[in-house]
Amino acid sequence: MATGRPLIRADLQLIADIVEPGSRVLDVGCGDGSLLYYLATVKEVDARGIEISSDGVNAGVSAGLSVIQGNAETDLFDYPDNTFDYVILSRTLQAMHAPKTILEQLLRIGRRAIVSFPNFGHWRLRWSLLLTGRMPKNALLADEWFTSPNIHLCSIRDFVTLCAEKGIVIERGLFVDEKGTPRPLGRSLLLANNLGEQAVFLLRSHCVNGKK
Protein backbone atom coordinates (compact mmCIF):
# COMPACT_ATOMS: atom_id res chain seq x y z
CA MET A 1 0.00 0.00 0.00
CA ALA A 2 2.74 2.41 1.00
CA THR A 3 4.71 1.81 -2.17
CA GLY A 4 4.04 4.31 -4.91
CA ARG A 5 2.18 6.63 -2.55
CA PRO A 6 3.02 10.17 -3.57
CA LEU A 7 4.79 12.21 -0.91
CA ILE A 8 3.11 15.44 0.09
CA ARG A 9 3.79 18.32 2.46
CA ALA A 10 3.17 17.35 6.10
CA ASP A 11 0.20 19.71 6.59
CA LEU A 12 -1.35 18.44 3.36
CA GLN A 13 -0.99 14.91 4.66
CA LEU A 14 -2.96 15.92 7.76
CA ILE A 15 -5.69 17.29 5.52
CA ALA A 16 -5.64 14.24 3.28
CA ASP A 17 -6.05 11.98 6.30
CA ILE A 18 -9.30 13.75 7.18
CA VAL A 19 -10.86 13.24 3.74
CA GLU A 20 -13.10 10.19 3.37
CA PRO A 21 -12.23 7.95 0.41
CA GLY A 22 -14.47 8.26 -2.63
CA SER A 23 -15.74 11.73 -1.72
CA ARG A 24 -15.94 14.82 -3.92
CA VAL A 25 -13.39 17.47 -3.06
CA LEU A 26 -12.58 21.00 -4.17
CA ASP A 27 -9.11 22.26 -3.30
CA VAL A 28 -9.16 26.06 -3.34
CA GLY A 29 -5.73 27.38 -4.22
CA CYS A 30 -4.50 23.94 -5.15
CA GLY A 31 -1.06 25.06 -6.33
CA ASP A 32 0.52 22.43 -8.56
CA GLY A 33 -2.18 19.95 -7.55
CA SER A 34 -0.06 17.67 -5.35
CA LEU A 35 -2.80 17.26 -2.72
CA LEU A 36 -5.39 16.64 -5.44
CA TYR A 37 -3.14 14.09 -7.06
CA TYR A 38 -2.70 12.32 -3.75
CA LEU A 39 -6.44 12.34 -3.04
CA ALA A 40 -7.28 11.13 -6.55
CA THR A 41 -4.77 8.31 -6.60
CA VAL A 42 -4.67 7.15 -2.98
CA LYS A 43 -8.23 7.91 -1.85
CA GLU A 44 -10.03 7.68 -5.19
CA VAL A 45 -11.56 11.05 -4.62
CA ASP A 46 -13.39 13.07 -7.32
CA ALA A 47 -10.77 15.78 -6.97
CA ARG A 48 -11.10 19.28 -8.41
CA GLY A 49 -9.12 22.44 -7.92
CA ILE A 50 -9.05 26.18 -8.38
CA GLU A 51 -5.71 27.91 -8.74
CA ILE A 52 -4.86 31.49 -9.57
CA SER A 53 -1.40 30.94 -11.09
CA SER A 54 -1.16 29.67 -14.66
CA ASP A 55 1.90 27.60 -13.80
CA GLY A 56 0.00 25.78 -11.08
CA VAL A 57 -3.04 25.22 -13.28
CA ASN A 58 -1.02 23.95 -16.22
CA ALA A 59 0.90 21.57 -13.97
CA GLY A 60 -2.36 20.24 -12.52
CA VAL A 61 -4.18 19.80 -15.81
CA SER A 62 -1.07 18.31 -17.41
CA ALA A 63 -1.15 15.70 -14.65
CA GLY A 64 -4.71 14.82 -15.64
CA LEU A 65 -6.39 16.69 -12.78
CA SER A 66 -9.50 18.86 -13.09
CA VAL A 67 -8.18 22.29 -12.28
CA ILE A 68 -9.62 25.68 -13.14
CA GLN A 69 -7.61 28.84 -13.56
CA GLY A 70 -9.53 31.28 -11.44
CA ASN A 71 -9.80 33.49 -8.40
CA ALA A 72 -11.38 31.95 -5.31
CA GLU A 73 -12.65 35.32 -4.17
CA THR A 74 -14.90 35.62 -7.20
CA ASP A 75 -15.33 32.10 -8.54
CA LEU A 76 -16.66 30.24 -5.50
CA PHE A 77 -19.94 32.09 -5.85
CA ASP A 78 -20.74 30.17 -9.05
CA TYR A 79 -21.06 26.76 -7.44
CA PRO A 80 -24.42 25.48 -6.21
CA ASP A 81 -24.92 24.67 -2.50
CA ASN A 82 -23.41 21.43 -1.20
CA THR A 83 -21.61 20.58 -4.43
CA PHE A 84 -18.69 19.01 -2.59
CA ASP A 85 -18.18 16.75 0.40
CA TYR A 86 -15.10 18.75 1.35
CA VAL A 87 -13.78 22.12 0.31
CA ILE A 88 -10.14 22.55 1.22
CA LEU A 89 -8.35 25.82 1.82
CA SER A 90 -4.76 25.16 2.83
CA ARG A 91 -2.55 28.05 3.98
CA THR A 92 -4.54 30.45 1.83
CA LEU A 93 -7.14 32.02 4.14
CA GLN A 94 -4.64 34.59 5.41
CA ALA A 95 -4.01 35.81 1.85
CA MET A 96 -7.70 36.45 1.06
CA HIS A 97 -9.21 39.91 0.87
CA ALA A 98 -12.39 38.75 2.56
CA PRO A 99 -11.61 35.69 4.68
CA LYS A 100 -15.00 35.74 6.39
CA THR A 101 -16.86 35.66 3.08
CA ILE A 102 -14.58 32.91 1.84
CA LEU A 103 -15.36 30.82 4.93
CA GLU A 104 -19.08 31.30 4.29
CA GLN A 105 -18.62 30.23 0.67
CA LEU A 106 -16.58 27.16 1.62
CA LEU A 107 -19.34 26.00 3.94
CA ARG A 108 -22.06 26.81 1.43
CA ILE A 109 -20.63 24.85 -1.48
CA GLY A 110 -19.17 22.08 0.70
CA ARG A 111 -20.79 19.95 3.35
CA ARG A 112 -17.53 20.35 5.22
CA ALA A 113 -14.53 22.62 4.94
CA ILE A 114 -10.94 21.83 5.84
CA VAL A 115 -8.96 24.98 6.56
CA SER A 116 -5.30 25.26 7.50
CA PHE A 117 -3.33 28.40 8.27
CA PRO A 118 -0.12 29.59 9.94
CA ASN A 119 -0.75 30.55 13.56
CA PHE A 120 0.25 34.14 14.25
CA GLY A 121 -0.13 33.45 17.96
CA HIS A 122 2.90 31.12 18.05
CA TRP A 123 5.18 32.03 20.95
CA ARG A 124 8.24 32.63 18.78
CA LEU A 125 6.40 35.17 16.69
CA ARG A 126 5.13 36.96 19.81
CA TRP A 127 8.59 36.90 21.32
CA SER A 128 10.24 38.12 18.16
CA LEU A 129 7.86 41.06 17.87
CA LEU A 130 8.33 41.92 21.54
CA LEU A 131 12.09 41.68 21.35
CA THR A 132 12.91 43.24 18.00
CA GLY A 133 9.86 45.40 17.45
CA ARG A 134 9.79 44.25 13.85
CA MET A 135 7.32 42.21 11.86
CA PRO A 136 8.03 38.62 12.90
CA LYS A 137 8.98 35.88 10.43
CA ASN A 138 9.38 32.14 10.54
CA ALA A 139 9.54 29.23 8.10
CA LEU A 140 5.85 29.54 7.20
CA LEU A 141 5.85 33.33 7.16
CA ALA A 142 9.14 33.98 5.46
CA ASP A 143 8.28 37.05 3.38
CA GLU A 144 9.12 40.62 4.22
CA TRP A 145 6.10 42.62 5.34
CA PHE A 146 6.13 44.56 2.06
CA THR A 147 6.17 41.50 -0.19
CA SER A 148 4.04 39.17 1.88
CA PRO A 149 0.79 37.96 0.30
CA ASN A 150 -0.53 37.43 3.82
CA ILE A 151 -2.82 40.37 4.47
CA HIS A 152 -5.14 38.78 7.04
CA LEU A 153 -3.01 36.82 9.46
CA CYS A 154 -4.70 35.44 12.54
CA SER A 155 -4.02 33.32 15.58
CA ILE A 156 -5.72 30.05 16.44
CA ARG A 157 -7.71 31.89 19.09
CA ASP A 158 -8.83 34.51 16.55
CA PHE A 159 -10.02 31.81 14.21
CA VAL A 160 -11.90 29.88 16.87
CA THR A 161 -13.58 33.12 17.97
CA LEU A 162 -14.69 33.86 14.40
CA CYS A 163 -16.11 30.34 14.05
CA ALA A 164 -18.07 30.81 17.27
CA GLU A 165 -19.43 34.16 16.03
CA LYS A 166 -20.47 32.68 12.69
CA GLY A 167 -21.97 29.57 14.25
CA ILE A 168 -19.43 27.39 12.48
CA VAL A 169 -19.00 24.00 14.11
CA ILE A 170 -15.44 22.86 14.63
CA GLU A 171 -15.62 19.10 14.22
CA ARG A 172 -11.91 18.68 14.60
CA GLY A 173 -9.00 20.96 15.32
CA LEU A 174 -5.31 20.15 15.20
CA PHE A 175 -2.25 22.24 15.82
CA VAL A 176 1.20 21.37 14.57
CA ASP A 177 4.17 22.30 16.72
CA GLU A 178 7.68 23.25 15.60
CA LYS A 179 8.69 19.62 15.34
CA GLY A 180 5.82 18.95 13.01
CA THR A 181 3.88 16.88 15.52
CA PRO A 182 0.13 17.24 15.17
CA ARG A 183 -1.86 17.48 18.39
CA PRO A 184 -5.53 18.01 19.16
CA LEU A 185 -6.50 21.58 20.08
CA GLY A 186 -7.61 20.84 23.61
CA ARG A 187 -10.31 22.65 25.57
CA SER A 188 -8.16 25.55 26.58
CA LEU A 189 -6.54 27.09 23.54
CA LEU A 190 -3.60 28.29 25.60
CA LEU A 191 -1.26 25.49 24.54
CA ALA A 192 -2.39 25.33 20.94
CA ASN A 193 -2.19 29.06 20.42
CA ASN A 194 1.29 29.25 21.90
CA LEU A 195 2.88 26.10 20.53
CA GLY A 196 1.06 25.69 17.23
CA GLU A 197 3.03 26.84 14.21
CA GLN A 198 0.03 26.05 12.10
CA ALA A 199 -3.45 24.63 12.54
CA VAL A 200 -5.87 22.43 10.62
CA PHE A 201 -9.62 22.63 11.15
CA LEU A 202 -12.48 20.46 9.96
CA LEU A 203 -15.57 22.63 9.85
CA ARG A 204 -19.25 22.45 9.05
CA SER A 205 -22.10 24.93 9.33
CA HIS A 206 -24.37 24.69 12.34
CA CYS A 207 -27.04 23.40 10.00
CA VAL A 208 -26.49 19.75 9.11
CA ASN A 209 -26.57 18.51 5.53
CA GLY A 210 -27.33 21.89 4.13
CA LYS A 211 -30.62 22.36 5.98
CA LYS A 212 -30.74 25.95 7.08
Binding site: V57, N58, V61, S66, V67, I68, Q69
Partner: protein, 398 residues
Amino acid sequence: MITGVGHVLARDGWPHSFPGQRVALGRDRPLALDCGVQLNDFSVAYQTYGRLNDDRSNAILICHALTGDQFAAEPHPLTGREGWWHLMVGPGRTIDTSRFYVISVNVLGGCMGSTGPSEINPATGETWGLTFPIITIADMVRAQAMLLDHLGIEQLFAVIGGSMGGMQALEWASLYPERVFAAVPIATAAYHTAQNIAFHEVGRQAIMADPDWCGGEYWRHGKQPHRGLAVARMAAHITYLSEPKLTEKFGRRLQDREMYSFRFGADFQVESYLLHQGSTFVDRFDANSYLYITRAMDYFDMAERHGGALANAFRDTPVRFCVVSFTSDWLYPTEQSRRIVHALNAVAANVSFAEIVSNSGHDAFLLDEPEFRRVLSGFLAGAAQHRGLRVPAPAVEA
Protein backbone atom coordinates in the same frame (compact mmCIF):
# COMPACT_ATOMS: atom_id res chain seq x y z
CA MET B 1 -21.49 -1.80 -38.80
CA ILE B 2 -23.35 0.44 -41.20
CA THR B 3 -26.64 1.41 -39.64
CA GLY B 4 -28.29 2.24 -42.91
CA VAL B 5 -28.70 5.94 -42.49
CA GLY B 6 -25.78 6.79 -44.71
CA HIS B 7 -24.71 5.85 -48.21
CA VAL B 8 -21.10 5.95 -49.17
CA LEU B 9 -21.04 8.21 -52.17
CA ALA B 10 -19.33 7.57 -55.43
CA ARG B 11 -16.83 10.21 -56.23
CA ASP B 12 -18.81 11.68 -59.09
CA GLY B 13 -18.49 15.40 -59.02
CA TRP B 14 -15.89 15.21 -56.30
CA PRO B 15 -12.21 15.49 -57.11
CA HIS B 16 -10.77 12.00 -57.32
CA SER B 17 -7.55 13.16 -55.81
CA PHE B 18 -9.22 14.12 -52.52
CA PRO B 19 -8.38 11.78 -49.69
CA GLY B 20 -11.05 10.73 -47.23
CA GLN B 21 -14.67 9.69 -47.52
CA ARG B 22 -17.99 11.16 -48.39
CA VAL B 23 -21.37 9.79 -47.34
CA ALA B 24 -24.92 10.77 -48.23
CA LEU B 25 -27.12 11.28 -45.21
CA GLY B 26 -30.70 12.25 -44.53
CA ARG B 27 -32.38 10.05 -47.13
CA ASP B 28 -34.04 7.84 -44.50
CA ARG B 29 -34.28 10.47 -41.81
CA PRO B 30 -34.04 14.10 -42.83
CA LEU B 31 -32.01 16.64 -40.90
CA ALA B 32 -34.37 19.24 -39.38
CA LEU B 33 -32.47 22.50 -39.61
CA ASP B 34 -32.96 25.29 -37.07
CA CYS B 35 -34.31 27.54 -39.84
CA GLY B 36 -37.22 25.12 -40.37
CA VAL B 37 -36.03 23.49 -43.59
CA GLN B 38 -35.74 19.69 -43.77
CA LEU B 39 -32.54 18.61 -45.45
CA ASN B 40 -33.24 15.12 -46.77
CA ASP B 41 -30.33 14.41 -49.03
CA PHE B 42 -27.01 15.86 -48.14
CA SER B 43 -23.43 14.72 -48.05
CA VAL B 44 -20.78 14.91 -45.39
CA ALA B 45 -17.10 14.64 -46.27
CA TYR B 46 -14.71 13.47 -43.62
CA GLN B 47 -11.24 12.12 -43.08
CA THR B 48 -10.08 9.68 -40.43
CA TYR B 49 -6.71 9.01 -38.86
CA GLY B 50 -5.79 6.03 -36.71
CA ARG B 51 -7.86 2.95 -36.01
CA LEU B 52 -11.12 2.42 -34.15
CA ASN B 53 -10.61 0.02 -31.25
CA ASP B 54 -12.76 -3.08 -30.67
CA ASP B 55 -15.27 -1.51 -28.30
CA ARG B 56 -15.43 1.64 -30.42
CA SER B 57 -14.47 3.82 -27.49
CA ASN B 58 -11.40 5.67 -28.75
CA ALA B 59 -12.95 8.03 -31.32
CA ILE B 60 -12.06 11.71 -31.18
CA LEU B 61 -14.00 14.15 -33.31
CA ILE B 62 -11.99 17.14 -34.49
CA CYS B 63 -14.10 20.18 -35.37
CA HIS B 64 -12.60 22.77 -37.66
CA ALA B 65 -12.73 26.53 -37.58
CA LEU B 66 -14.42 28.90 -40.06
CA THR B 67 -12.05 28.31 -42.95
CA GLY B 68 -10.74 24.90 -41.94
CA ASP B 69 -11.70 21.55 -43.39
CA GLN B 70 -11.35 17.82 -42.82
CA PHE B 71 -7.70 17.72 -43.81
CA ALA B 72 -6.33 18.37 -40.34
CA ALA B 73 -3.27 16.14 -40.37
CA GLU B 74 -2.17 15.79 -43.98
CA PRO B 75 -1.22 18.10 -46.81
CA HIS B 76 -4.17 20.02 -48.16
CA PRO B 77 -5.27 18.53 -51.50
CA LEU B 78 -5.70 21.96 -53.11
CA THR B 79 -2.85 23.98 -51.67
CA GLY B 80 -0.36 21.24 -50.82
CA ARG B 81 0.28 22.98 -47.49
CA GLU B 82 0.48 21.06 -44.21
CA GLY B 83 -2.84 20.18 -42.56
CA TRP B 84 -4.16 22.92 -40.30
CA TRP B 85 -3.57 20.86 -37.14
CA HIS B 86 -0.64 18.71 -38.22
CA LEU B 87 1.29 19.91 -35.14
CA MET B 88 -1.38 18.44 -32.91
CA VAL B 89 -2.76 15.39 -34.71
CA GLY B 90 -0.65 12.42 -35.75
CA PRO B 91 1.20 9.38 -34.46
CA GLY B 92 2.95 10.30 -31.20
CA ARG B 93 1.47 13.78 -31.22
CA THR B 94 -0.83 15.30 -28.61
CA ILE B 95 -3.89 13.85 -30.30
CA ASP B 96 -2.11 10.60 -30.87
CA THR B 97 -3.46 8.72 -33.86
CA SER B 98 -1.66 5.56 -32.79
CA ARG B 99 -4.04 5.51 -29.79
CA PHE B 100 -7.09 7.40 -30.90
CA TYR B 101 -9.34 7.13 -33.92
CA VAL B 102 -9.59 10.69 -35.15
CA ILE B 103 -12.54 11.77 -37.25
CA SER B 104 -12.31 15.13 -38.93
CA VAL B 105 -15.45 16.37 -40.66
CA ASN B 106 -16.01 19.15 -43.15
CA VAL B 107 -18.88 21.19 -41.70
CA LEU B 108 -22.29 21.40 -43.27
CA GLY B 109 -22.21 24.53 -45.41
CA GLY B 110 -18.52 23.99 -46.16
CA CYS B 111 -16.93 23.66 -49.55
CA MET B 112 -14.66 20.63 -49.31
CA GLY B 113 -17.22 17.94 -50.01
CA SER B 114 -19.89 18.43 -47.38
CA THR B 115 -23.13 19.87 -48.68
CA GLY B 116 -22.97 23.62 -48.95
CA PRO B 117 -23.93 26.40 -51.33
CA SER B 118 -21.38 25.33 -53.95
CA GLU B 119 -22.74 21.77 -54.17
CA ILE B 120 -25.51 20.51 -56.42
CA ASN B 121 -29.00 20.41 -54.93
CA PRO B 122 -30.09 16.83 -55.74
CA ALA B 123 -33.72 17.94 -55.93
CA THR B 124 -33.11 20.42 -58.74
CA GLY B 125 -29.84 19.26 -60.24
CA GLU B 126 -28.60 22.83 -59.93
CA THR B 127 -25.99 24.43 -57.69
CA TRP B 128 -27.59 25.44 -54.39
CA GLY B 129 -26.13 28.95 -54.32
CA LEU B 130 -28.23 31.23 -52.16
CA THR B 131 -31.14 28.76 -52.23
CA PHE B 132 -29.12 26.75 -49.71
CA PRO B 133 -30.87 27.07 -46.33
CA ILE B 134 -29.25 29.10 -43.56
CA ILE B 135 -27.52 26.74 -41.18
CA THR B 136 -26.43 27.00 -37.55
CA ILE B 137 -23.63 25.55 -35.44
CA ALA B 138 -26.18 23.14 -33.95
CA ASP B 139 -27.12 22.00 -37.48
CA MET B 140 -23.46 21.25 -38.20
CA VAL B 141 -23.32 19.18 -35.03
CA ARG B 142 -26.55 17.32 -35.81
CA ALA B 143 -25.13 16.42 -39.21
CA GLN B 144 -21.95 15.14 -37.53
CA ALA B 145 -24.08 13.05 -35.15
CA MET B 146 -25.74 11.45 -38.19
CA LEU B 147 -22.30 10.65 -39.54
CA LEU B 148 -21.43 8.95 -36.26
CA ASP B 149 -24.65 6.92 -36.53
CA HIS B 150 -23.50 5.88 -39.95
CA LEU B 151 -20.08 4.95 -38.60
CA GLY B 152 -21.67 3.00 -35.76
CA ILE B 153 -20.00 5.08 -33.05
CA GLU B 154 -22.23 5.41 -30.02
CA GLN B 155 -20.02 7.64 -27.92
CA LEU B 156 -17.08 9.83 -28.75
CA PHE B 157 -14.18 9.70 -26.36
CA ALA B 158 -13.69 13.39 -27.02
CA VAL B 159 -14.80 16.23 -29.22
CA ILE B 160 -12.11 18.84 -29.70
CA GLY B 161 -12.15 22.09 -31.59
CA GLY B 162 -10.77 25.62 -31.66
CA SER B 163 -12.65 28.79 -32.54
CA MET B 164 -15.80 27.74 -34.45
CA GLY B 165 -14.67 24.18 -33.73
CA GLY B 166 -14.94 25.02 -30.04
CA MET B 167 -18.50 26.19 -30.58
CA GLN B 168 -19.25 22.81 -32.09
CA ALA B 169 -17.61 21.08 -29.11
CA LEU B 170 -19.85 23.06 -26.74
CA GLU B 171 -22.90 22.30 -28.87
CA TRP B 172 -22.00 18.60 -28.90
CA ALA B 173 -21.82 18.51 -25.11
CA SER B 174 -25.14 20.31 -24.86
CA LEU B 175 -27.09 18.43 -27.56
CA TYR B 176 -25.65 14.96 -27.03
CA PRO B 177 -24.22 14.79 -23.49
CA GLU B 178 -24.41 10.99 -23.46
CA ARG B 179 -22.48 10.72 -26.69
CA VAL B 180 -19.48 12.74 -25.55
CA PHE B 181 -17.16 11.61 -22.79
CA ALA B 182 -14.98 14.72 -22.90
CA ALA B 183 -15.26 18.08 -24.63
CA VAL B 184 -12.41 20.48 -25.34
CA PRO B 185 -13.55 23.93 -26.48
CA ILE B 186 -10.47 25.98 -27.33
CA ALA B 187 -10.17 29.73 -27.97
CA THR B 188 -13.89 30.07 -28.33
CA ALA B 189 -17.07 31.59 -26.93
CA ALA B 190 -20.61 30.55 -26.11
CA TYR B 191 -21.98 33.40 -28.20
CA HIS B 192 -20.89 35.87 -30.85
CA THR B 193 -20.44 39.37 -29.52
CA ALA B 194 -21.43 42.51 -31.41
CA GLN B 195 -17.75 42.92 -32.30
CA ASN B 196 -17.54 39.36 -33.66
CA ILE B 197 -20.63 39.96 -35.78
CA ALA B 198 -19.30 43.32 -36.93
CA PHE B 199 -16.08 41.84 -38.29
CA HIS B 200 -18.00 39.12 -40.08
CA GLU B 201 -20.33 41.64 -41.62
CA VAL B 202 -17.32 43.49 -43.07
CA GLY B 203 -16.28 40.25 -44.72
CA ARG B 204 -19.71 39.49 -46.09
CA GLN B 205 -20.14 43.00 -47.43
CA ALA B 206 -16.76 42.78 -49.14
CA ILE B 207 -17.84 39.60 -50.92
CA MET B 208 -21.26 40.90 -51.90
CA ALA B 209 -19.80 44.21 -53.10
CA ASP B 210 -17.62 42.38 -55.61
CA PRO B 211 -19.37 42.62 -59.02
CA ASP B 212 -18.12 39.10 -59.75
CA TRP B 213 -20.32 37.81 -56.93
CA CYS B 214 -23.20 38.29 -59.39
CA GLY B 215 -25.91 38.31 -56.73
CA GLY B 216 -24.57 35.00 -55.40
CA GLU B 217 -24.78 33.23 -58.78
CA TYR B 218 -21.19 33.65 -59.93
CA TRP B 219 -20.95 30.02 -61.06
CA ARG B 220 -23.59 30.72 -63.74
CA HIS B 221 -21.33 33.35 -65.23
CA GLY B 222 -18.08 31.43 -64.85
CA LYS B 223 -16.82 33.97 -62.35
CA GLN B 224 -15.48 33.99 -58.80
CA PRO B 225 -15.68 37.00 -56.44
CA HIS B 226 -11.99 36.66 -55.69
CA ARG B 227 -11.38 40.27 -54.79
CA GLY B 228 -14.25 40.40 -52.32
CA LEU B 229 -13.37 37.09 -50.74
CA ALA B 230 -9.71 38.10 -50.46
CA VAL B 231 -10.65 41.33 -48.69
CA ALA B 232 -12.92 39.37 -46.35
CA ARG B 233 -10.02 37.06 -45.56
CA MET B 234 -7.62 39.95 -45.01
CA ALA B 235 -9.94 41.67 -42.55
CA ALA B 236 -10.62 38.43 -40.71
CA HIS B 237 -6.95 37.48 -40.66
CA ILE B 238 -6.12 40.59 -38.67
CA THR B 239 -8.50 39.42 -35.96
CA TYR B 240 -6.65 36.09 -35.74
CA LEU B 241 -3.36 37.80 -34.85
CA SER B 242 -2.39 40.33 -32.24
CA GLU B 243 -0.83 43.74 -32.33
CA PRO B 244 2.37 42.52 -30.60
CA LYS B 245 2.59 39.63 -33.05
CA LEU B 246 2.15 41.91 -36.06
CA THR B 247 4.75 44.28 -34.66
CA GLU B 248 7.12 41.41 -34.06
CA LYS B 249 6.60 39.98 -37.54
CA PHE B 250 6.47 43.17 -39.60
CA GLY B 251 6.74 46.33 -37.56
CA ARG B 252 6.74 49.22 -40.02
CA ARG B 253 9.23 47.49 -42.28
CA LEU B 254 8.94 48.16 -46.00
CA GLN B 255 8.51 45.49 -48.63
CA ASP B 256 11.36 45.30 -51.17
CA ARG B 257 12.08 49.01 -51.01
CA GLU B 258 14.10 51.56 -49.09
CA MET B 259 11.63 54.42 -49.19
CA TYR B 260 7.91 55.00 -49.44
CA SER B 261 6.72 54.75 -53.02
CA PHE B 262 4.30 57.65 -52.59
CA ARG B 263 1.77 55.42 -54.32
CA PHE B 264 -0.81 52.88 -53.16
CA GLY B 265 1.09 49.68 -53.78
CA ALA B 266 2.07 47.38 -50.94
CA ASP B 267 4.81 49.53 -49.38
CA PHE B 268 4.67 47.79 -46.04
CA GLN B 269 5.48 44.18 -45.35
CA VAL B 270 2.26 43.77 -43.43
CA GLU B 271 0.30 44.86 -46.52
CA SER B 272 2.10 42.39 -48.71
CA TYR B 273 1.53 39.65 -46.14
CA LEU B 274 -2.21 40.32 -45.97
CA LEU B 275 -2.50 40.47 -49.77
CA HIS B 276 -0.78 37.10 -49.92
CA GLN B 277 -3.14 35.68 -47.28
CA GLY B 278 -6.13 36.93 -49.26
CA SER B 279 -4.97 35.72 -52.65
CA THR B 280 -4.06 32.20 -51.51
CA PHE B 281 -7.32 31.82 -49.63
CA VAL B 282 -9.52 32.28 -52.69
CA ASP B 283 -7.96 29.24 -54.35
CA ARG B 284 -9.39 26.93 -51.74
CA PHE B 285 -12.54 28.54 -50.41
CA ASP B 286 -15.97 29.27 -51.80
CA ALA B 287 -17.34 32.77 -51.31
CA ASN B 288 -20.91 31.68 -50.61
CA SER B 289 -19.67 29.12 -48.08
CA TYR B 290 -17.95 32.00 -46.34
CA LEU B 291 -21.27 33.86 -46.15
CA TYR B 292 -23.15 30.85 -44.77
CA ILE B 293 -20.58 29.80 -42.20
CA THR B 294 -19.97 33.30 -40.85
CA ARG B 295 -23.76 33.62 -40.55
CA ALA B 296 -23.93 30.39 -38.58
CA MET B 297 -21.31 31.73 -36.18
CA ASP B 298 -23.12 35.04 -35.79
CA TYR B 299 -26.34 33.25 -34.89
CA PHE B 300 -24.49 31.24 -32.25
CA ASP B 301 -25.74 32.03 -28.75
CA MET B 302 -26.08 29.00 -26.52
CA ALA B 303 -27.62 30.80 -23.58
CA GLU B 304 -30.40 32.25 -25.72
CA ARG B 305 -31.75 28.78 -26.46
CA HIS B 306 -31.70 27.94 -22.76
CA GLY B 307 -33.73 30.67 -21.14
CA GLY B 308 -30.86 33.14 -21.17
CA ALA B 309 -28.72 31.09 -18.78
CA LEU B 310 -25.75 29.30 -20.31
CA ALA B 311 -25.62 26.93 -17.33
CA ASN B 312 -28.96 25.46 -18.43
CA ALA B 313 -27.28 24.16 -21.57
CA PHE B 314 -25.18 21.86 -19.40
CA ARG B 315 -27.44 20.89 -16.49
CA ASP B 316 -26.49 17.47 -15.03
CA THR B 317 -23.87 17.05 -17.73
CA PRO B 318 -21.72 13.92 -17.41
CA VAL B 319 -19.16 15.42 -19.82
CA ARG B 320 -15.64 16.25 -18.66
CA PHE B 321 -14.60 19.63 -20.01
CA CYS B 322 -11.25 21.20 -20.71
CA VAL B 323 -11.60 24.86 -21.66
CA VAL B 324 -8.52 26.59 -23.05
CA SER B 325 -7.93 30.24 -23.89
CA PHE B 326 -4.91 32.30 -24.93
CA THR B 327 -3.84 35.55 -23.30
CA SER B 328 -3.49 37.58 -26.51
CA ASP B 329 -6.67 36.29 -28.22
CA TRP B 330 -8.86 39.35 -28.60
CA LEU B 331 -11.31 37.66 -30.99
CA TYR B 332 -12.50 35.21 -28.32
CA PRO B 333 -10.77 36.60 -25.25
CA THR B 334 -10.22 34.68 -22.02
CA GLU B 335 -13.23 36.44 -20.55
CA GLN B 336 -15.42 34.47 -22.96
CA SER B 337 -13.89 31.19 -21.85
CA ARG B 338 -14.38 32.23 -18.25
CA ARG B 339 -18.10 32.71 -18.91
CA ILE B 340 -18.24 29.12 -20.10
CA VAL B 341 -16.31 27.93 -17.05
CA HIS B 342 -18.59 29.86 -14.69
CA ALA B 343 -21.64 28.29 -16.31
CA LEU B 344 -20.07 24.84 -15.99
CA ASN B 345 -19.22 25.49 -12.33
CA ALA B 346 -22.81 26.50 -11.73
CA VAL B 347 -23.88 22.99 -12.68
CA ALA B 348 -20.93 21.42 -10.82
CA ALA B 349 -19.55 20.01 -14.05
CA ASN B 350 -16.12 18.43 -14.12
CA VAL B 351 -14.11 21.15 -15.79
CA SER B 352 -10.52 22.17 -16.28
CA PHE B 353 -9.65 25.60 -17.52
CA ALA B 354 -6.25 26.87 -18.54
CA GLU B 355 -5.31 30.23 -19.97
CA ILE B 356 -2.16 29.80 -22.00
CA VAL B 357 0.32 32.67 -22.17
CA SER B 358 1.02 33.45 -25.82
CA ASN B 359 1.39 36.55 -27.96
CA SER B 360 0.15 34.84 -31.11
CA GLY B 361 -3.45 35.98 -30.75
CA HIS B 362 -6.40 33.80 -31.68
CA ASP B 363 -4.31 31.70 -34.08
CA ALA B 364 -2.26 30.42 -31.13
CA PHE B 365 -4.35 27.26 -31.05
CA LEU B 366 -3.04 26.33 -34.51
CA LEU B 367 0.59 27.07 -33.70
CA ASP B 368 3.41 25.45 -31.81
CA GLU B 369 2.48 26.21 -28.21
CA PRO B 370 4.24 23.65 -25.97
CA GLU B 371 2.31 24.65 -22.83
CA PHE B 372 -1.00 24.20 -24.66
CA ARG B 373 0.11 20.78 -25.90
CA ARG B 374 1.13 19.73 -22.39
CA VAL B 375 -2.22 20.79 -20.96
CA LEU B 376 -4.25 19.09 -23.67
CA SER B 377 -2.20 15.93 -23.57
CA GLY B 378 -2.50 15.74 -19.76
CA PHE B 379 -6.24 16.28 -19.95
CA LEU B 380 -6.67 13.57 -22.57
CA ALA B 381 -4.54 11.14 -20.58
CA GLY B 382 -6.56 11.84 -17.42
CA ALA B 383 -9.86 11.50 -19.28
CA ALA B 384 -8.70 8.28 -20.93
CA GLN B 385 -7.90 6.87 -17.52
CA HIS B 386 -11.35 7.78 -16.21
CA ARG B 387 -12.97 6.36 -19.32
CA GLY B 388 -11.01 3.17 -18.81
CA LEU B 389 -9.35 3.52 -22.20
CA ARG B 390 -6.17 1.56 -22.31
CA VAL B 391 -4.00 4.42 -23.40
CA PRO B 392 -0.31 4.34 -22.48
CA ALA B 393 1.33 7.44 -21.07
CA PRO B 394 1.54 10.21 -23.64
CA ALA B 395 4.70 10.42 -25.69
CA VAL B 396 7.35 12.68 -24.24
CA GLU B 397 7.66 15.72 -26.44
CA ALA B 398 10.82 17.62 -27.05
